[in-house]
Amino acid sequence: MSLLQVEAVTRRFGGLSAVDNVSFGIEPGQVSAIIGPNGAGKTTLFNLVSGFLAPDSGRIHFDGSDITARAPHLIAARGIVRTFQLVQLFPDLTAHQNVEAGCHLRGGGGVWAALARTAKARRELDEAAEAARDLLSFVGLDARADVPASALPYGQQRLLEVARALAAAPKLLLLDEPAAGLNAVETEHLAQVIRAIIGRGITVLLIEHDMHFVMKLAAHIVVLDFGRKIAEGTPDQVQNSPAVLEAYLGGVDAGGVEAGGVDAGGVDAGGVDAGGVDANGVAAGSAEPAPEATRA
């Protein structure tokens, strides 16, 4: 039984089908990935699964219940927590406070509990602080706990966003291009963190452009192109799929392909590569149709 089941989901923007009749299942306990050229509809798909967008048709099931078009905070409460392609930290809060604020779903107190500072409310605050310390050390940021998030270098901001997402106690963690903008050392560290997340019994679904990263980590890959699913399977199956090679190579200089496999950096001309995302999280030249449609 799949943890996440996406069934014939379609989302159009004007005349363009950003996600077109896509179906797939995500098995628990492993890393899965969604790949595809820029504009393939990957982030739109994430927005649909996490409730930031509603599909025009199709259903999404998670952990035995229908979550189609539910509000994002309700989907998060069910156990799907996402990160963002453009890092969305709480810039004025310290790293510790960011993760603490992420512990919202672990508690339950309202205004009166806060005013009376009941034993339960006190315990929740203590537990949130404790969880924040744990999670910061889990991603290797324990030494940066008191630094404002905005003052952290970009690679650490990415890790902090992962730690904060874990604070919401997800069953399924959605990572939107977690390695974008990271150097080789940081990328390797991130891979270790993701393996450790699996080790904690949390399922990971990620969008990624760094093919080496994906092929190394993911057990299951879904390939999108122009909103449609063109392939699905193990890294080997996907890399040898004619449809995938066509999508990545069609009309693009073959210099993008290296002996080891498909290198995304060479394919999406001017797309999101290490240089395409700067420290402020501004993606250059992303061709995703309305990638963050909910941001006004």
């Binding site: 905070h73 004025d92 806060a114 005013l115």
Partner: protein, 323 residues
């Protein structure tokens, strides 16, 4: 926003200075009591504003509407209908809370300057009602002879006792602000201030928490408005005009937006500044304006952040010398 708070010696000195000032007012009486009472009223108003603008990172230009509802409800009920003060005040506050709920539900979906425009309109509409609804509000003339604070036929005897009551109300207001800031709710509000999308993704019901902050801010504003009516004994549309919003904003930013004690410091400084510059005569407004600019240049996060700022500078200097 980050917990910039006064700490250590600086904080102690500030509290001491405040205590001396209040103590002196109680001994000397007179005009200083009036100024401090005014500062306390505004400190309550701005502490409420801080929930919505500081903790939650939203904008409202319409908080004067809720102050007007608190003030006018108190004024009308205690004069025309001869209600006791202790019954009129809660009703005014409840009315403001209800209006905030009704107005906030649809408008809090708006972001940034759209929300600012909607709240600005709210303030103007309520003020216009105060002007036009002559039979109840007496229009521009206003309502005078509002009874002072008191209960069961007993009234607070003089201005010093009134000041003591205002300070007690302020202490309670600040205590609640501090409690809520350092709670699960305060964390959720800080998350919304940081990034609404991230807050949603982490399971925070953004619309609900914005509404909570808006209603709390309205309750504070109504309390301040009602206390004003019973302290000054007079309300008119001008009292709750746009001037109140501008003054509230100035206090919030000068004191330190997002900090628990910022509104307190801001309200006190902004109430005292014009008096300080009284000897400048014709140049009083000029000196006042210049002082504000200097404060906001050297303490951009408000006076309450000065201690933190100073420590950070010193740490940086020590680091440079060590290198």
């Amino acid at each position: 926003m980050a917990g910039f708070k006064l700490s250590g010696i600086a904080a102690t000195l500030c509290w001491l200075a405040g205590a001396v000032l209040v103590g002196y007012a109680f001994v000397s009486g007179g005009y200083l009591v009036t100024v401090l009472g005014f500062a306390a009223l505004y400190a309550i108003f701005v502490t409420g504003l801080n929930f919505f603008m500081g903790y939650t990172g939203q904008v409202s230009f319409g908080q004067n509407a809720f102050a007007a509802i608190g003030g006018y409800t108190s004024a009308v009920l205690t004069t025309a209908f001869k209600w006791p003060v202790f019954a009129a005040m809660p009703l005014g506050i409840a009315a403001a809370a209800l209006l905030a709920l009704l107005i906030g539900y649809p408008t809090l979906r708006l972001r940034g300057h759209y929300l600012a425009m909607a709240t600005l309109a709210l303030g103007m509409i309520v003020q216009e009602i105060a002007v036009q609804w002559d039979s109840v509000t007496m229009g521009y003339t206003g309502i005078a002879a509002i009874p002072p604070l008191g209960a069961f036929g007993w009234e607070l005897p003089h201005e010093r006792a009134q000041l003591a009551a205002l300070l007690a109300a302020l202490a309670l207001a600040v205590w609640i602000s501090s409690r809520l800031k350092h709670s699960r709710i305060g964390h959720a509000l800080a998350a919304i201030a940081g990034s609404e999308d991230a807050a949603r993704a982490l399971g925070i019901d953004v619309a609900r928490y914005k509404l909570i902050a808006f209603v709390i801010a309205a309750v504070y504003a109504a309390l301040a408005g009602s206390l004003f009516a019973h302290t000054v004994g007079f309300v008119s549309p001008e009292v709750f005009g746009l001037h109140m919003v501008v003054l509230g904003f100035t206090m919030l930013y000068v004191g330190g937006i997002g900090s628990v004690y910022g509104p307190l410091i801001g309200a006190l400084i902004i109430s005292l500044l014009p008096e300080t510059f009284r000897s400048f005569k014709d140049y009083q407004d000029l000196a006042y304006g210049a002082a504000l600019i200097v404060i906001l240049i050297y303490a951009p996060k408000g006076l309450s952040s000065l201690a933190t700022l100073w420590r950070a500078r010193r740490a940086a200097a020590v680091k440079r010398e060590g290198a």
